[in-house]
């Protein structure tokens, strides 16, 4: 079956329908990872977005369900150059097309994903529609595509209730703004009791739980629209409980500290971004997935210092707050998909917790 991808600028591409047949409008982002498509599909930070995979051969090793980064697929749609006919891996449980259909995710194959990446690089983020319907007059759907906005996505992806997912001597509250499963895994691996709390949980409730540390997770959307959460984070700061922020969590912390965020032209989405630790000069390769960054000029040097910087475009990748047990990073130390170079940051977090005691 044919499928079409229509961009808000009126460009249209024909391909083959994969996954669900329904029509979807979303923001388009491209991801340059060469493996880890399942982790990307199930990363809640992609809520509201369809992902264009620049690597042309997707689905090669099928779907290994244990690699899912959350309980369902949050990506709106999948755009690939070629979807493998078979999934070949000893752990494979189904092929990717079947998985997309099961999760009702539409997609398109057979399109020039490199070209799409270039369009986004040149024009900046834009919206698009994946559909199996052939519109004779594209103009009629363009207003609908243009009007789409990624809004209030955190509330869509966060957990419904507070729940404890492991046991341990010490407790960490994991603020779920759309947390990837591996964040919790890293804490569990280190012997912590992890209590997942929904994004809307008031700070005082978390403080009352007498937790030893707080992790502000990754998540989708524009951080500046999360005003209520930012307000609660201000309370958390005052509590003196060690906090580690990842991605959206890093941005929300910065906003709570009075800094500003801005939107990148087309964001960072991939598994090959070099980040430099400005304290010791070491460079690590990291997984990244964000459209927003902290505005460098808005950082008050008396409050925080830049911890990590992106080697490619010198954007802020991590902050350490003076006199506060708070560290945050823009990239993903939990990896999955992507390099495991910065896993040690979880050790730094737990060290912060230990030192406070």
């Amino acid at each position: 079956m044919k499928a079409y991808l229509i961009l808000e600028n009126g460009d249209s591409f024909e391909g083959i329908s994969i996954g669900a047949k329904r029509e979807v409008v979303s923001e388009l982002v491209f991801n340059t990872s060469m493996s880890g498509y399942l982790e990307i599909l199930t990363d809640p930070s992609y809520a509201g977005q369809s992902v264009i995979m620049t690597y042309p051969l997707i689905g090669n090793y099928g779907v290994c369900l244990e690699d899912q980064e959350s309980s369902s697929v949050f990506t709106e749609g999948l755009i690939v150059s070629e979807l493998s006919r078979i999934g070949s891996n000893f752990r494979t449980e189904m092929d990717l097309d079947t998985y997309l259909k099961l999760n009702d995710i539409p997609g398109i194959a057979g399109v020039d994903t490199r070209h799409l990446a270039k369009v986004i690089r040149q024009k900046g983020c834009l919206n698009g529609m994946i559909t199996t319907q052939k519109y004779e007059n594209i103009q009629e759907v363009l207003p609908q595509i243009k009007a789409y906005k990624v809004e209030h996505v955190v509330e869509k992806v966060t957990s419904d209730s507070i729940h404890t997912i492991s046991s341990g001597n010490k407790k960490i509250a994991l603020y779920d703004f759309g947390a990837k499963r591996n964040i919790a895994e890293h804490l569990i691996k280190r012997g912590y009791e992890v209590i997942v709390v929904p994004a809307s949980t008031p700070a005082k409730k978390v403080i009352a739980m007498n937790v030893d540390g707080i992790l502000l997770s990754n998540g989708p959307g524009d951080p500046s629209e999360c005003t209520e959460i930012i307000g609660e984070i201000k309370q958390l700061i005052k509590s003196g409980i060690p906090i580690f922020g990842i991605c959206l969590g890093h941005q929300l912390m910065a906003l709570a500290q009075g800094f500003k965020t801005e939107k990148l032209k087309y964001g960072h989405h991939g598994a090959n971004h070099p980040v430099k630790n400005l304290i010791n000069g070491h460079v690590y390769i990291s997984t990244q997935n964000h459209n927003y960054v902290i505005k460098e000029s808005s950082i008050d040097a008396s409050i925080a210092k830049v911890w990590f910087m992106n080697v490619n475009d010198q954007t802020i990748e991590g902050l350490k707050y003076h006199g506060q047990p708070i560290q945050t990073v823009q990239f993903h130390p939990e990896a999955c998909a992507g390099p495991q170079d910065t896993e040690f940051l979880f050790d730094e977090f737990t060290k912060m917790i230990e030192e406070r005691r």
Binding site: T54, F90, I285, A337
Partner: protein, 1065 residues
């Protein structure tokens, strides 16, 4: 960390001659590294015995020594030049071993020479099996169960403990020389015994056999402050068991989930950190296909064939960065040349798939075993880039230039199903075709997987190709099918053949449907950042992103494809110089080539690089996009020459010598007419079609005769026939291979061979130098020792050669280069071959005469006469320097290959010896080929009757030099009769005191074996094979043996005088 300012003068060791396992990749790496060092203001001293390389050009380094790569020579060089540092990790295993020996002896320390880049301690740790294993245990990285042994008994004990099969890997050898898989104790006895002999340190590793696991490689970089990245990973289509150099390899890995990918990536970074690598490094893994279990197979703490492939596959210049890291820079301080805005501390993101297929020399060694195992056999490789695996595979297959354009091998179609299934068990170069044929016959993917262990993903892709084949056969050829076939890179010709249509119809359909090739850029970042690298590959049904607009005139330069016997690195040297000359003259250059190992495919050589197969259609697509002013085909060997007619059909002007003139040299009748017109003789000959005609012709000419197919150059398929039986046998073989063309039979003249290269313009010629061969005619010129200037040719004959060259070039209207081979026989000069193109000798003659031959020729081709370039016509003034080019062979790697020399070329590379006097030059050349004699002063001689007389004085020379001679019966009696005290040794079929026994005692320096030409007995062949596989030098020509003893007599005790070729007199 900024640059280390203590480093001012660096010695770079090259890798020496091209041999199997060590090819052009080190010229690419070395050239890049030297350029990177010079860029930083470092004085670079280079030593490499291989004259055919770009890296030994005088402007690549400050001082260039084309000298033998021996410990003594390098010591002398260090004393002479006093470098403060040595960079050993860019010249392959050879350079690494040399540097290690110097370090071990304490010589480097004594001379205050520092090793920069990865340290000698690290190298030792990575290369010594035992130490490496210990380290891996310490950092908890798994290795396959293994044990280091120093004798065969220990090997057998260990194998009994872990069970067969086991892998044998000798320590410190190239390309797995001497290794193998042993399935029982007898095999282990042989393989291990041999491996111990070949190992530099007498060690072999006996290892649990993990064949069938996935073989995965990571190319990693690390700088002095501990930053590490992986450049890319690669997956071998062939599971563990086939040497990675002989495997079909794709990048990035295709069948690894992110969990597996990251597990191995993390392991690789952990290993290079533990080893404290500073530079580039390759880590090889075996990954269990049904669990997360893995083993580290090997670490190469240097740039390698894989790193060259990774550089070309990603656009990340590993060797250049390794050099910068050696100077102290950190990865995040070095700009990514491709984007110009990001840094080297990132990991390339590919948005395409790369496929490499090795080029094997089995066409040259018809009798050799085609089995692939742990011993590498390929001489070169091709790489292709596409956005789908099927397309990449199809491109790579046709890049190999073996007249196969898709997965179809005629000879497999006639064999029975069960036989075919049996063939799936054979791991050989044909396996891919056997799989394809099996799929055509409905043998299931599961069955094929069960036998071959090749991942189902790859098999499914091959099955997809077969399905499309079937659909093309069945029809109808609609838009969708044609699009699919082109997407998967079926050539128009193949589509035409399968669908039963004409090629024109296919082209017409393509036009009608608007299907045409689009080009994409290799940019290291999957389009994330803007890049302007002019490095492209073709795809179908996608948006073209290459703008052909240029304000300069564009010239197309066709490369020479994979390195193979008969067409080696020399042609890449010529292509690169042609590009440089064109650029200098203000032209925009477009290079098309598919060899990932070479300098010409470095993205900063040409203005535009198309990494594509060199077929008519692939080139036409580029021509249609770029519309070049003209094309230069003279420098890309036969690969480029083959495309001349196609280019003319496309309307591309052939610059320089025309297609018609090229034809004139290849068409026997036209060539004869030309010679007659010029009043030049050639050995008498006839053109025949049948056995009867051939026999009649041979008898008329008188045996011996030279017999060969027409339209095949470089001695391919050429034989010397001594009698009727030879002719009959030969015609049978040849008719099988080259049916359409007639067969040529020539008189065989056993005279002296002389070779000339000349640059020709409309007015005259410039000859850089005349070269004389040591071996008499009958040995292919590429396998002969070549001497410049000639030592035994008088002035009158030289004049005649110059005159003939002039006449021929003029008559043929050659513009550019010509190469002519002559025979001097009974005071007469005969022409035996004319090639109106660049030749194998161009790089070396350019270097020793200090004449930029390719540059001058390129300018001539572009219309600037020799005179206008400031040169005079005629023979260029002869230098005082004597240069001897000597062939180097890789026989020990190719089991079953006949090593005796003849008209078919067999050498893989060459070395040069340079001196002010002939004997020293030739001695150096012998040293350069690895012949370090005398050692034990024992030799074996077995000489055919016809050559015994001639051998006598040579035998006497060896004898008086102190050699003890062992000879087989006939030779023994002959030498005894002539008063030489020699010992008898039995032929191998005897019970005791055989040649085998002598060789096994490891006391033999060399074997002189002159086989009778019609020797059908296996005896001689077995002796030669056994000698070669045991590492004993074997000469099959008396001329070579004589040259050796004469030079040895004079020079083996003298200090060699080292010559910097940038300052030749």
């Amino acid at each position: 960390m900024p640059k280390d300012t203590r480093i001012k003068k660096v010695l770079v060791i090259g890798s020496g001659p091209i041999i199997i396992g060590q090819a052009a990749e080190f010229d690419y790496a070395g050239t890049q590294a030297c350029k990177a060092l010079k860029e930083e203001g470092i004085e670079v001293i280079l030593i490499n015995s291989n004259p055919a390389t770009i890296m030994t050009d005088k402007f690549i380094a400050d001082k260039v020594y084309i000298e033998p790569l021996t410990i003594e020579v390098i010591k002398d060089l260090i004393i002479k030049e006093k470098p403060d540092s040595i960079l050993p990790t860019l010249g392959g295993q050879n350079a690494l071993n040399l540097a290690m020996s110097l370090a071990d002896e304490g010589f480097l320390e004594e001379q205050h020479v520092r090793t920069i880049g990865t340290s000698t301690q690290t190298i030792k740790l990575a290369e010594d099996r035992l130490e490496f294993k210990k380290l891996m245990e310490n950092i908890q990285e798994p290795c396959a169960q293994s044990k280091i042994v120093t004798n065969v008994e220990a090997a057998i004990d260990f194998a009994n403990e872990i069970g067969y099969p086991v892998v044998v890997r000798p320590a410190y050898t190239l390309g797995g020389t001497g290794g193998g898989i042993a399935h029982d104790s007898m095999a282990l006895h042989d393989i291990c015994g041999n491996g111990l002999r070949l190992s530099r340190v007498g060690q072999c590793l006996i290892e649990r056999c993990i064949s069938g696991w996935k073989e995965i490689e990571y190319e990693v970089m690390r700088d002095g402050s501990g930053n590490c990245i992986t450049v890319c990973n690669m997956e071998n289509l062939d599971p563990v068991g086939v040497h990675t150099g002989d495997s079909i390899v794709v990048a990035p890995s295709q069948t690894l989930s992110d969990k597996e990918y990251q597990m191995l990536r993390t392991s690789a970074l952990k290993i290079i950190t533990a080893l404290d690598i500073q530079g580039g490094c390759n880590v090889q893994y075996a990954l269990n296909p049904s669990s997360f279990e893995y083993c580290v197979i090997e670490v190469n703490p240097r740039v390698s064939r894989s790193s060259a492939l990774a550089s070309k596959a990603t656009g990340y210049p590993i060797a250049k960065l390794a050099a910068k890291i050696a100077l102290g820079y950190c990865l995040d301080e070095i700009i990514n040349q491709i984007t110009g805005q990001t840094y080297a501390s990132y990991e390339p993101a590919l948005d395409y798939i790369v496929c490499k297929i090795p080029k094997w020399p089995f066409d040259k060694f018809a009798d050799a075993s085609r089995d692939l195992g742990t011993q590498m056999k390929a001489t070169g490789e091709v790489m292709s880039i596409s956005n789908n695996f099927e397309g990449a595979l199809m491109k790579a297959i046709r890049s190999l230039e073996q007249n196969l354009d898709y997965l179809y091998l005629d000879e497999l179609t006639t064999i029975k199903d069960d036989e075919l299934k049996n063939k799936l068990n054979e791991v050989s170069d044909l396996r891919l075709f056997v799989i394809a044929e099996s799929l055509r016959r409905q043998i299931s993917i599961d069955d094929i997987h069960a036998i071959t262990k090749i991942d189902r993903w790859f098999l499914d892709k091959i099955a997809h190709l077969i399905e499309v084949e079937e659909r093309l056969k069945r029809g109808p050829l609609d838009l969708e099918l044609l699009k699919t076939a082109k997407h998967m890179q079926f050539l128009d010709e193949v589509i035409a053949k399968l669908s039963g249509q004409s090629c024109q119809t296919i082209q017409h359909l393509k036009q009608q449907y608007g299907i045409c090739a689009a080009y994409k850029m290799v940019d290291t970042c999957a389009a994330e950042f803007e890049a302007s690298t002019p490095y492209f590959y073709s795809v179908y049904n996608r948006v073209n992103e290459v703008s052909s607009i240029s304000h300069k005139k564009k010239i197309l330069v066709l490369g020479s494809g994979p390195i193979r016997i008969g067409q080696g690195i020399e042609f890449d040297y010529c292509s690169v110089h042609c590009v440089w000359a064109l650029k200098k003259a203000g032209y925009e250059t477009i290079v098309v080539n598919n060899n990932p190992e070479t300098v010409s495919t470095d993205f900063d050589i040409a203005d535009r690089l198309y990494f594509e197969p060199l077929t008519k259609e692939d080139v036409r697509n580029i021509v249609e996009l770029e519309k070049p002013e003209g094309a230069i085909v003279q420098f890309g060997g036969q690969t480029a020459i083959k495309l001349v007619h196609a280019l003319e059909e496309m309307g591309v002007r052939i610059l320089g010598t025309t297609a018609d003139a090229i034809d004139a040299a290849e068409d026997r009748e036209r060539f004869d007419a030309l010679l007659e017109e010029c009043g030049i003789q050639r050995p008498q000959g006839h053109t025949v079609y049948t056995v009867e005609e051939a026999l009649a012709a041979a008898r008329q000419l008188g045996y011996p005769v030279l017999i060969r197919p027409s339209y095949v150059l470089g001695g391919a398929g050429m034989e010397i026939a001594l009698n009727d039986q030879d002719i009959e046998k030969y015609i049978k073989i040849i008719n099988h291979q080259y049916q359409e063309h007639p067969i040529l039979i020539d008189q065989y003249l056993s005279g002296k061979e002389v070779e000339v290269d000349a640059i020709c313009d409309e007015k005259g010629i410039l000859i850089p130098g005349i070269m004389e061969h040591i071996e008499r005619a009958g040995v292919h010129s590429g396998d002969s020792i070549s001497v410049y200037p000639p030592q035994s040719i008088d002035a009158a004959v030289q004049e005649k050669i110059i005159d003939y060259t002039q006449r021929l070039s003029k008559a043929m209207h050659v513009i550019g280069l010509i190469n002519i081979q002559f025979i001097l026989y009974a005071q007469e000069v005969y022409v035996i071959e004319v090639n109106p193109r660049s030749s194998r000798t161009i790089p070396y003659i350019s270097k020793v005469t200090d004449l930029p031959v390719v540059d001058i020729a390129t300018n001539v081709i572009m219309g600037k006469s020799i005179e206008a370039q400031g040169y005079t016509y005629g023979l260029y003034p002869t230098k005082k320097t004597v240069a001897v080019k000597m062939p180097v062979f890789s026989f020990e790697k190719i089991k079953g290959a006949e090593i005796s020399l003849g008209p078919e070329m067999k050498s893989t590379g060459e070395v040069l010896g340079i001196s002010t006097e002939f004997d020293e030059a030739i001695y150096k050349a012998f040293l350069g080929t690895g012949l370090e004699l005398p050692k034990h002063k024992n030799m074996i001689c077995t000489i055919q009757d016809a050559s015994k007389e001639e051998f006598l004085p040579i035998a006497k020379q060896f004898y008086s030099f102190g050699y003890h001679l062992y000879a087989t019966q006939g030779t023994y009696e002959f030498l005894r009769q002539h008063g030489l005290l020699v010992s008898l040794v039995n032929r191998i079929s005897a019970e005791e005191n055989t040649i085998y026994d002598l060789i096994l005692e490891d006391k033999i320096d060399l074997i002189i074996n002159i086989p009778s030409r019609n020797n059908t007995a296996r005896d001689g062949f077995l002796i030669r094979r056994f000698a070669v596989e045991s590492g004993v030098s074997t000469f099959t020509s008396l001329d070579t043996a004589k040259a050796l003893i004469t030079s040895m007599e004079k020079h083996h005790v003298k200090k060699l005088n080292l010559i910097d070729i940038t300052k030749l007199d």
